[in-house]
Subunit: 163 residues, 2 copies
Amino acid sequence: MHYDASLQIILVLPKEQHNVWKKLCREYAFEVEHQLADGGETRFHSVKNGLEFVQEPGLVAVHDGVRPFVSLEVIRRCYDLAAKRKAVIPVVDVFETLRVVTKDGSRTVNRAEYKLVQTPQVFDTELLKQAYRQDFNPLFTDDASVVEAMNIPFFSLKAIGKI
Amino acid sequence: MHYDASLQIILVLPKEQHNVWKKLCREYAFEVEHQLADGGETRFHSVKNGLEFVQEPGLVAVHDGVRPFVSLEVIRRCYDLAAKRKAVIPVVDVFETLRVVTKDGSRTVNRAEYKLVQTPQVFDTELLKQAYRQDFNPLFTDDASVVEAMNIPFFSLKAIGKI
């Protein structure tokens, strides 16, 4: 169940970008094996499309393409923890001052009580597939929020710190 | 009271970096007029030191050195609004999923209700000087939080959007 460099890779891209991607792969001789899935209207729909390619039980990691500089160490820690915890997300501290919007304007909150969520988010495959069978909700901004919406009492989400 | 490219510039730097800075100015023929103030233990103490160089009434902007790519347009908008509102901070939307730490772990909050605070933060000089006469509080993570702590009822803070 641990991280393995030979894992199956599914790349989710808007359908109209598939040909550009394939051209880039040829141009730069990119030969890492992977499958292409179609992007959807929101992140939720894209992940759902990608999950259809996941058939084996085990762990699945969802990573955002806008975060290309993730370290191997973070990927490994997320996988290793997920093997025990079933659901792991990496988070970082909020370094900027954070304000909450109120009726009258906004006020500063204690940023030490907040975390910004990163990826990869790693889950037990069955758990994540079950979560993505739910109807879409605009508050689903990452995978953890989709899984949490199921309110499974035995579900334990582990947020790992500094990445 | 509006933004003026000929404004007085005060650079707050740890005392032990003053000589390095002066050397860099000579090396790169940096001739924009400015004054040097000593950095303090926290951002609060640094700003307080810098404010001692501000003698004229008017507007004062506090900018973080870690944000060198701020646009002239943002600086101008903050100054122009502050001329009317006395206190203006630029903010941006939270693009990542945001979680609040709870007793049992953490939960996702609606990121649309939160803003990340940027700089320059622009204030009426007297208002800011008065605010910085308060005792230090670890929750003072930016200038707006220092000003807000005074609980002045007529004080109006304007957060400007996308920068």
